[in-house]
């Protein structure tokens, strides 16, 4: 039996694991963790086999569709893009589940944890496998729900409950935009068929959507006095969804708060997988974006700005996990930028961005798991109380340093020596340069360079503050158990070598996503439609451009060493409430205070609450009146039911007689 036929099992197995763990987990040792681990391991093997098969022949993608109702379908599609994502997600999820058996061993409700993470994995895999936008959206919402449940895993902690709500509501804004985009798209496609859709044509399936891009682009609407092509409208609405899910500016506010969940959840959902769903969505619908005038520019600008903006906040945080959270936001910005530069490099952008996505998944999951290992051992995540952890936790410290090197993208340009991050991040920054050349706008490139400096600065600050020097407080600590250190080592190995091993093959493989037996999209033609001028061949950038990312990364390392390692500058004078810049950064640009505390809580919430109360009272009164009436009449009607069978017979005969008369009367009157 061909392995493609098992593709449907990839999300189904974790879903079954969810059901089993949910009901039986409590009775099994360790919360029944063995169930999801086995299920995800099998999913991983299937994904890997399919990927290897696709690698040999990228044009033979797996596509299976079944009619759901009317012109909609459910189905699976494993093309190069989906295949690498599937393999990465199952792999990361598997390792993190194994790690969790150690990490969650002291928790009260491990079975709930494993059930929810299994459900999350199933939804995420379902999202990746979707061959139509509606199914993708359904899974998109499901991962949102799982994220909500897992952020609020320790729901008895008020801050966790609040963070869960905040994450759910903030991403909701994006979700609504995404759904609006789907509705506009559906309406447009439906019109194209004049309402009669032949059997076997599923209009929300990607091949059908991509085939109609030029027609959608031809539809225009006037919005706020501006003539907007529907393809731009739809893609920007989709991007709105991606902004929410992938924590792009200005909807990134939920992601740092989401660190209230267990650290493993942060690693799985808020670093490696779910937050990349937005990037995946844009990559998946890339042919639409490249055909949409301005959309890719917006993606590039938002991505680059987010990368820089989050970096500035990363350097002042004192909480281990929050630094990593801002780092994630920043790296997600890079991925978006990687897609945005498609305006210059075409379909290659998908390869570049997804390459960074996969590498990031490895080293960021690793960073989180290392942080988790530290937190597990010493019980605090305030860096000001740590220091010298390397002495007690050598494996954790070593893997953490590898992850940091990968994050900053250390490597030697022009050779194939370097960490994973080096290959993918440099590719994005270089493409941003090409983007500048092609479009004449240099801001994204400058932002990405500045962000690279900040990245190096904040991550080495973390490393020096946590692992070097003398302990600042008296924490007891020990190296974590093998169930935790082994996944750490595997991730570290990947963070170190995955990029170098696959750099040449990966981009071409993923970039071929849009030409196969499922869809056949001419990216160049679509780019003309979108008004983008594609650069024919990359690789002739000035030498400085190639070396620039490394130079700034090293600069960051040196500054961090001087300040936090050798302490040549007294930070206390800078880090004070009197320093306006520090204050601005530390308070996260007051965006939290303005958005959350003022606009959301005071204006919107209070306003709606007031209006709602008034309307509610009216409704309450009406409903109560109505229900009182209903209950009262029920009570009196009950009296008819005497229980005496002769009365029943009388009722039948009376009923017959009355009905004859009634029908006669009604017929006469009408």
């Amino acid at each position: 039996m061909a392995v493609e036929n098992l593709a449907f099992l990839i999300p189904v197995l974790p879903a079954l694991a969810f059901v089993l763990t949910f009901f039986l987990g409590k009775k099994l040792p360790n919360g029944g963790s063995i169930i999801p681990i086995t299920a995800i391991a099998i999913s991983f093997v299937i994904s890997l086999l399919i990927t290897l098969k696709l690698l040999a022949n990228p044009e033979e993608v797996v596509s299976q569709s079944y009619s759901w109702f009317a012109m909609l379908n459910i189905g699976i599609l494993v093309d190069p893009l989906a295949a690498v994502m599937l393999t990465m997600v199952t792999f990361a999820s598997l390792l993190i589940h194994i790690y969790s058996t150690g990490y969650m061993s002291h928790d009260k409700a491990p079975s709930r944890y494993f059930a929810e993470t299994a459900l999350f994995t199933a939804s995420m895999l379902g999202l990746i496998l979707s061959d139509n936008i509606l199914q993708l959206f359904i899974c998109w919402e499901l991962v949102g729900v799982c994220s909500y449940l897992l952020i609020g895993f320790w729901f008895e902690k008020p801050s966790a409950a609040t963070a869960a709500k905040k994450a759910f509501l903030t991403t909701r804004i994006g979700d609504v935009m995404f759904l609006t985009g789907i509705i506009v798209l559906f309406a447009d496609l439906y019109k194209m068929f004049n309402g009669t859709i032949p059997d076997g044509v599923f209009i929300l399936r990607f091949d059908e959507i991509f085939a109609h891009i030029p027609e959608i682009a031809a539809i225009n609407s006037t919005i706020l006095g501006m003539e907007v092509s529907h393809i731009t409208l739809i893609t920007l609405l989709f991007f709105g969804g991606a902004v929410g899910k992938s924590g792009q500016f200005p909807l990134h506010v939920w992601l740092p708060d989401a660190m209230e969940g267990p650290t493993t959840v942060s690693a799985l959902i808020h670093a490696a997988t779910m937050v990349t769903a937005g990037v995946y969505l844009v990559a998946r619908t890339f042919p639409m974006f490249i055909a949409a005038p301005d959309s890719l520019m917006v993606v590039a600008y938002v991505g680059a700005f987010t990368a820089l903006f989050a970096g500035t906040m990363g350097i002042v945080m004192n909480d281990l996990k929050r630094v990593l959270a801002y780092s994630t936001v920043s790296q997600l910005g890079y991925m978006m930028l990687g897609l945005g530069v498609g305006a210059a490099v075409g379909a290659e952008a998908v390869g570049i961005s997804i390459f960074h996505l996969v590498n990031h998944a490895f080293f960021k999951a690793l960073l989180f798991l290392c942080a988790g290992s530290v937190i597990h051992a010493v019980g605090t995540h305030d860096m000001r109380q740590l220091g010298g952890v390397a002495k007690v936790m050598p494996i954790t410290a070593a893997t953490m340093i590898i992850a940091s090197l990968a994050l900053t993208g250390m490597g030697i340009p022009g050779t194939s020596i370097g960490t994973s991050g080096f290959f993918s991040k440099d590719a994005i920054i270089e493409s941003a340069y090409l983007f500048g050349e092609s479009t004449g706008t240099w801001l994204p490139y400058l932002f990405s360079i500045a962000a690279a400096l900040l990245t190096s600065l904040y991550i080495f600050r973390l490393v020096f503050m946590t692992f070097y020097g003398k302990p600042r407080t008296d924490y007891g600590g020990h190296e974590s158990p093998a169930s935790m250190t082994i996944p750490l080592s595997i991730f570290a190995l990947l963070a170190l070598i995955f990029g170098g091993l696959t750099a040449e093959k990966f981009n071409t493989f993923v970039s071929e996503t849009f030409v196969n037996n499922f869809v056949h999209v001419d990216i160049h033609e679509l780019a003309t439609l979108g008004g983008y001028h594609l650069v024919e061949h990359a690789g002739h950038e000035p030498l400085l451009v190639l070396w620039m990312p490394l130079i700034v990364a090293l600069a960051g390392l040196v500054i961090a060493y001087l300040v936090y390692g050798l302490k040549i500058v007294n930070m206390d004078s800078l880090v004070s409430r009197n320093n306006p810049i520090y204050k601005l950064l530390y308070n996260r640009y007051y965006q939290n205070s303005i958005f959350t505390n003022f606009v959301s809580v005071k204006v919107i919430y209070e306003g709606f609450a007031f209006a709602g109360r008034a309307v509610d009272r009216g409704f309450d009164w009406t409903v109560k009146w109505f229900s009182d009436l209903a209950i009262e009449s029920g009570e009196s009607l009950r009296q008819f039911q005497t229980g005496a069978v002769q009365n029943y017979a009388t009722a039948v005969i009376t009923g017959v007689s009355l009905l004859v008369i009634l029908v006669k009367v009604v017929m006469e009157v009408l």
């Binding site: 759901w68 229900s627 209950i631 009950r638 069978v645 017979a649 017959v656 006669k664």
Partner: protein, 482 residues
């Protein structure tokens, strides 16, 4: 004539007789096997019926016809019979009359199936009576239980009265048209138009079928009987036998007496509105869950009756679809109640009202599978999306609005809103009210039957396309002559 056409009926007859005979020779302890046998027979019949979907034929001198309508309703009856037999395995445990229970249930199903395929009023009447007689006996199955006997007595007396009225109606129709064949009546029914005899015949037939469907005011036996009978039997009555009334009414009114449309359409409009409103209102105040379900099934019958008022192919298809959904939800709800009753009785043998709503307190903790299934069933009955109940209501109500009966749709929707009041009450008792009783083990046969019903409710709700297709095909059989 192709005997394979009757393979479902034959397999039921054979199973029924085999169960009866084997039951004579084996000790009470091993009678459990009879239940498995009966369930197997039903499954075989179900298989034959599903595989013959799409066949069209007539037999026995055109007195029986096999078409999409008959096969669809046979599936409804067989699904209910399957749930009935599976849950009956537990219910009859240790009872020396086990074989009678299953044989009567199977024979009742055969009667219903003949009504579904009747093409002649005589066949229809005989099938009707076969089902009725078998269910009279089933309702009184607990011979030592006064409530069960009372239920059977009332059911029998009102049933006989209604049968007499129905026969009277048939004889009027026969007298005027000179035939009992349904197509024959349709051809000659014009003689009845405008005549008082036609009106009386219509109302008499309506009383006869209204008894089975439990339309107000012919419903009064229903609450007492549903409450007094064993829950498993109530499931058969509410989910199966009620649908027999509906398919009979469809055949007699929509096909045979379509010429008298004006008369019966008005009458059905009146009955539908009264029935759904009365059922929902009275259900609000019930404390016995079985009685509440009885009134709820009055209300549901009221909704289905709307199909007779709207009379478009879509509305009829919606009504027929509703019949299948209702089969799953109502049978499931009664079986869940049976599981609770069993639990209460095994804790306290002398409990007088084991289906009191207080016994549902904290059921979510005590019997999680039962509670979850019950939640699915009552939500489906209330018409919550993603369930079969929602799809049925959606098709039926939207076709009502499309045909201009907006007032009727509004009444029905308001009624649905009221109904949530008592459905949600059950869920509240199960999940939000505390109990200090222990978790108990759930009897396997009940659990299996409930899970089948839950799967049915959700599958039809989620993947309704094929079911809707066959319901519409069935509706086409009806309106073919229109």
């Amino acid at each position: 004539m192709d005997l394979m056409l009757f393979a479902p009926e034959i397999s039921l007859v054979v199973t029924g007789l085999a169960v009866l005979l084997i039951g004579l020779f084996i000790p009470t302890d091993s009678k459990k096997i009879l239940g498995y046998l009966a369930a197997l027979g039903v499954l075989v019949a179900l298989f034959f019926t599903v595989s013959s979907l799409g066949t069209e034929a007539t037999a026995f001198n055109d007195t029986v016809s096999i078409d999409a309508l008959s096969q669809f309703f046979k599936i409804v009856f067989l699904v209910v019979a399957l749930l009935f037999t599976i849950s009956g395995i537990k219910y009859t445990e240790g009872n020396s009359h086990t074989e009678e229970f299953f044989t009567l249930g199977l024979f009742a199903t055969i009667g219903m199936m003949f009504v579904a395929s009747a093409n002649d009023l005589m066949v229809l009447f005989v099938g009707f009576e076969l089902a009725s007689l078998a269910t009279y006996a089933l309702a009184g199955f607990e011979k030592k239980n006064a409530k069960s006997l009372e239920a059977a007595m009332k059911y029998f007396i009102i049933g006989s009265l209604s049968a007499a009225l129905m026969l009277l109606g048939i004889s009027y129709v026969y007298g005027a048209t000179g035939t009992t064949s349904i197509p024959g009546i349709a051809a000659n029914a014009s003689v009845l138009v405008g005549s008082p005899m036609g009106l009386v015949a219509v109302v008499l037939l309506m009383a006869g079928f209204g008894f089975k469907i439990a339309l107000v005011p012919f419903h009064m036996w229903a609450p007492d009987t549903y409450q007094g009978s064993p829950s498993v039997v109530s499931a058969l009555l509410a989910a199966g036998s009620k649908k027999m009334g509906i398919v009979a009414a469809l055949k007699v009114f929509v096909v045979a007496l379509i010429a008298l449309q004006a008369e019966w359409q008005t009458a059905f409009a009146i009955l539908a509105v009264i029935t759904m409103t009365y059922g929902n209102m009275v259900a609000l105040k019930q404390t016995s869950v079985k009685r509440m379900l009885a009134y709820s099934s009055l209300a549901q019958a009221g909704y289905i009756t709307m199909a007779f008022v709207v009379l478009t192919p879509m509305a009829l298809g919606g009504g027929i679809f509703y019949a299948l959904s209702h089969g799953f939800m109502k049978a499931g709800a009664f079986i869940a109640t049976a599981a609770v009753t069993y639990m209460v009785l095994s804790e306290n043998k002398d409990s007088t009202d084991p289906d009191h709503i207080d016994n549902f307190r904290g059921l979510g903790k005590r019997m999680p599978v039962t509670a979850l299934s019950m939640t699915v069933f009552v939500f489906a009955l209330a018409g919550i999306p993603l369930t079969a109940g929602y799809m049925s209501k959606f098709i039926l109500f939207s076709s009502t609005i499309q045909s201009g009966f907006v007032w009727l749709a509004i009444i029905a929707i308001l009624n649905s809103a009221i109904s949530l009041g008592y459905y949600a009450k059950i869920v509240k008792y199960m999940y939000f009210l505390p109990t200090d009783s222990e978790k108990v083990s759930e009897p396997l046969p009940y659990t299996v039957a409930m899970i089948i019903a839950v799967i049915g409710v959700l599958a039809i709700g989620f993947w309704s396309e094929p079911v809707v297709y066959w319901a519409m095909e069935a509706a086409k059989v009806l309106v073919g002559g229109m």
